[in-house]
Symmetry: C2
Subunit: 183 residues, 2 copies
């Protein structure tokens, strides 16, 4: 046990933080850019001979539904109704995380996933400050006009403001899905 | 032998390209940002248990001396004089590379270093296109005004235009050297 601890202190795991988003279609489908980012981690970054030396920290930031449009049809009659709505949002986020956790499990690499709420770019930087990963990985659609849709607008902000090195996995134009909603 | 080949094809080395620059003081002193970038590769990216699975590709791009100011005092009387000047420039570049190759040797990681000439940002992207690394690592002074002095102006261009993922190792303001010329 003492030996194990000493070995770990000599060679701490590489902590790789990955911020993920859902597709434009919505939950629970992951965005192509987030899947690409995880693919890069698994196939290029991770060394198969020492998978135990990595830990993937998977974060999904949910944007608070400020205008409430999405729920125009909902009618709340009790406090429980409202609580149940919040629970549903959380469940959708968890369903998205499930995809990434499953992929890590299949790749036999240690991971930890969690949800947070707020402006993605700010929350990602805040969480990176707390968790101190060795690398922050973000996918990018290579667009930039769809500001509100997560990564497009967040990646360049995080590249400049995150407290750790950031790698942005850009997509080859040929990888753009034929249905933009699958993005 | 056949087994070795097969193992290599299953798990190819991670090719990490590092573009390096000299300090403002000039050759052969490496810039703080380039040293930082190599430090990050060695201490954070490389997994000590499988160093054989990495190859560091070290590139230094020399900027052609367009205005000739640096050589105002030189007088060339023969073709050999001019050739000798070119040789000297190359030798200075090689002396810079020596620092990085030595560090890789000490860290027991495979490397390859070479010089090139031209506009650093364009040459880095062109070489990355040819070598197809899994990751391009660049140091950054976090300034941006010293356009001509290598990394400052090149890193953001490369982050957008390189054909592979790019990680920029930014420097903490506290790491700024007391003598700016050491930068």
């Amino acid at each position: 046990m003492a030996e194990q601890e000493s070995a770990e202190s000599i060679c701490p795991k590489m902590q790789v933080m990955l911020a993920v988003s859902h597709s434009i279609k919505g939950y629970p489908k992951p965005s192509v850019s987030s899947r690409n980012a995880l693919d890069w981690i698994i196939t290029k970054l991770l060394r198969p001979c020492c998978k135990k030396e990595y830990k993937i920290l998977i974060l999904h930031v949910q944007i608070p539904d400020e205008d409430g449009y999405e729920d125009m049809d909902s009618m709340y009659t009790t406090v429980n109704d409202i609580r149940s709505h919040h629970k549903t949002e959380k469940q959708k986020g968890l369903a998205l995380l499930e995809y990434f956790v499953k992929r890590c499990n299949e790749a036999e690499v240690d991971c930890e996933a969690w949800l947070s709420k707020g402006d993605p770019k700010l929350v990602i930087c805040k969480e990176a400050k707390e968790r101190q990963p060795d690398l922050l990985v973000l996918g990018s659609r290579g667009l930039g006009t769809l500001q509100r849709i997560f990564v497009g607008g967040s990646s360049s902000y995080c590249a400049k403001n995150a407290p750790c090195p950031v790698v942005i996995i850009r997509r080859d134009p040929s990888e753009t899905p034929s249905d933009p909603l699958d993005d």
